[in-house]
């Protein structure tokens, strides 16, 4: 196994708030990695730093053999990093199919001039793209909605679509920011099976941020836990679940019965 993504002592602060403190992270090729932590622990900030949306203060990000620290987002995307957003950020006025087709932007070989003059070649390329994306749409189960504007999809469908847009980019690394938020339990199971299939079908490496711990515990091989911008634990789901620091970060310090009674009475 080779290291695909290597984050080295990354720091980022917004004014006085240090959102990420010295976080280092190594993700191996073909791994499904979970990233968890309480609200405000810096998970999304870490995603934004890796995908180039934010510029880091210090530290470095290496991806697939290149130093991509502070690259422009579109260059990082072209290098093979796809991501979804917590708030989805779909192209709502575009159709579902177009939303996927835009994911292929880096792989399209022609420019605006060819579109005007190279009628046959461009048409063939567009048709290939369209067919490929229709296939992907049936994989995520939205084939019926191909021509419908994304704004008319439900939240659950949009989450699937966001996932589809990530896959359409044919990335090496797919970063999912809370893919199960707002999904019904049935859809959560559905999403988990898609995530596992992703690895088999497309050979993807996945980093997933999720609050529904079931998703992380059942699909991820390794889990990294952040709290207040620092990495507090890393390891297999079972290991992390029993880690003292993690429990404390999520639930607070353990109290015995006497202490609880005292706190409630007081």
């Amino acid at each position: 196994m080779t290291t695909l993504l290597q984050v080295d002592s990354l720091c980022k602060s917004f004014g006085g708030l240090q959102a990420i403190k010295n976080v280092s992270l190594e993700v191996e090729d073909g791994e499904i990695r979970g990233l968890i932590g309480p609200n405000g622990s810096g998970k999304s900030t870490l995603f934004n730093l890796i995908s180039g949306v934010y510029k880091c203060d210090s530290g470095s990000v290496r991806f697939d053999g290149a130093d991509v620290t502070n690259w422009e987002p579109h260059d990082i995307a072209a290098k093979g990093v796809a991501r979804t957003f917590q708030l989805l950020r779909m192209f709502t006025e575009m159709t579902v199919l177009e939303n996927l087709m835009i994911g292929q932007h880096c792989h399209v070989q022609y420019g605006p001039f060819a579109a005007v003059f190279g009628i046959g070649r461009v048409a063939a390329e567009e048709k290939r793209l369209r067919d490929e994306m229709m296939e992907l749409l049936s994989f995520i189960g939205l084939a019926d909605f191909a021509e419908v504007p994304a704004s008319e999809m439900s939240i659950g469908q949009r989450r699937l679509l966001a996932l589809g847009r990530g896959i359409a980019m044919k990335p090496k690394l797919l970063m999912l920011d809370e893919p199960a938020a707002g999904l019904s339990p049935v859809n959560v199971d559905n999403l988990m099976s898609i995530m596992v299939q992703l690895k088999k079908r497309y050979g993807l490496t996945v980093i997933v941020v999720e609050h529904i711990l079931k998703v992380v515990m059942d699909t991820c091989e390794r889990v990294t836990v952040l709290d207040h911008g620092e990495k507090i634990a890393e390891g297999s789901p079972a290991h992390v679940r029993d880690d003292h620091a993690v429990i404390e970060a999520y639930l607070g310090r353990e109290m015995d019965d006497e202490e609880v009674r005292a706190a409630m009475a007081g």
Partner: protein, 350 residues
């Protein structure tokens, strides 16, 4: 109505099967006899103006409708195209066929200049910056003697091919109309390709577009330059049309509002919408020219009304009709497939 739509889409598909460019050739042939139907010279003049306005509105639609950049400086680009062409023709005696590409090139550069503020400015702020640009261009023309200042620049030679001179509106139509068709075709080809998708992605969500691999700045610049090409083409065609006279009054904010109305009424981000808007607004503006002073009030009200009650314009309504039709068709197809599968399974059991 339904049958008519079905028939026309079917015949369009049949044309496309012969050659992808066939529908465009067909519309060229259909548009050829149009000036013969006109009652007088004035109506032919209107046809020419409509063609020029279609080019202009299509260009504005690219940058505003598809790329989502709120620009009010389009009319200044139109002026730059017209005056570049005019000056080259009047002062240097350059023939039309060299004025046109020069005008397009100069306007494209100006378009790039207008586009640069869009890297940092958005929405109303970008509108203000481009409005400032438009006003500066207009005022510069008004006070520059070399450009004819407030009395306009006259004596721009009509274009010619060999001995054939496009010296009246009837002849000029056969120059403007093909250019209009080519421009509209090019906008269709570009906007329905990956470039058009990138424009729309930038419009919808620039951050998300960047994360998907779209170089946002590059595509904003391309959109501005492309729309400037259209403005330059329209400007040059306007300058060389009889009587070969351009005046700063042709390029005021009022013209810009009219242009905006075309795009908004027709449908932002809808190529057909822009064209329908250009035709409608030019005709309406002409019919109501007796009430010139109320025209701007009327246009303003129509813009507000459209934005409030029909945000996607006329084109949006037409689009919606086709989308819902295709959706129903896709649904029926899947349902039928499922029924067929169920039937096959049943027959397999028995």
């Amino acid at each position: 109505m339904n049958a008519l739509v079905q028939k026309s889409t079917a015949s369009l598909d049949a044309l496309k099967r012969i050659h992808p460019l066939m529908p465009w050739f067909a519309s060229f042939v259909l548009l050829l006899p149009l000036p013969l139907l006109a009652l007088n010279d004035y109506q032919i003049y209107l046809l020419n103006v409509i063609c020029i306005m279609i080019i202009l509105a299509t260009g504005l639609n690219i940058v505003k409708g598809f790329c989502g950049q709120v620009t009010v400086g389009h009319v200044a680009l139109y002026a730059i195209g017209a005056y570049t062409s005019g000056v080259l023709s009047v002062k240097f005696g350059v023939p039309f066929w060299f004025c046109l590409p020069a005008a397009i090139a100069v306007t494209m550069l100006a378009g790039a200049l207008v586009g640069i503020p869009s890297f940092r400015l958005e929405g109303a702020y970008l509108a203000l910056a481009t409005l400032g640009f438009a006003q500066s261009v207009e005022i510069y023309i008004r006070v520059t003697n070399y450009l004819g200042s407030a009395s306009g620049l006259g004596g721009i030679a009509p274009p010619s091919i060999g001995n054939f001179v496009f010296y009246d509106y009837f002849r000029y139509y056969y120059l403007v109309m093909p250019f209009m068709l080519i421009a509209v075709y090019a906008s269709f080809a570009i906007l329905r390709s990956a470039t058009g998708r990138a424009f729309m992605a930038v419009r919808e969500d620039a951050l998300s577009a960047a994360a998907t691999g779209v170089n946002v700045r590059r595509y904003k610049l391309i959109a501005f330059m492309l729309s400037a090409v259209y403005a330059g083409l329209a400007g040059s065609l306007f300058a060389h049309m009889v009587p070969g006279y351009v005046h700063p009054n042709n390029f005021t904010v009022i013209e810009m509002v009219t242009l905006l109305l075309m795009v908004v009424l027709g449908g932002i981000g809808n190529i057909w919408g822009g064209i329908i808007g250009a035709i409608l607004v030019t005709i309406i503006a002409d019919l109501t020219r007796d009430f010139y002073f109320y025209q701007l009030l009327m246009f303003g009200l129509v813009i507000v009304g459209t934005v409030l009650f029909m945000p996607k314009g006329i084109g949006g309504i037409i689009d919606r009709y086709f989308v819902s039709k295709r959706f129903v068709a896709a649904r029926e197809k899947t349902a039928e497939q499922k029924r067929a599968e169920a039937a096959a399974a049943k027959s397999g059991e028995s």
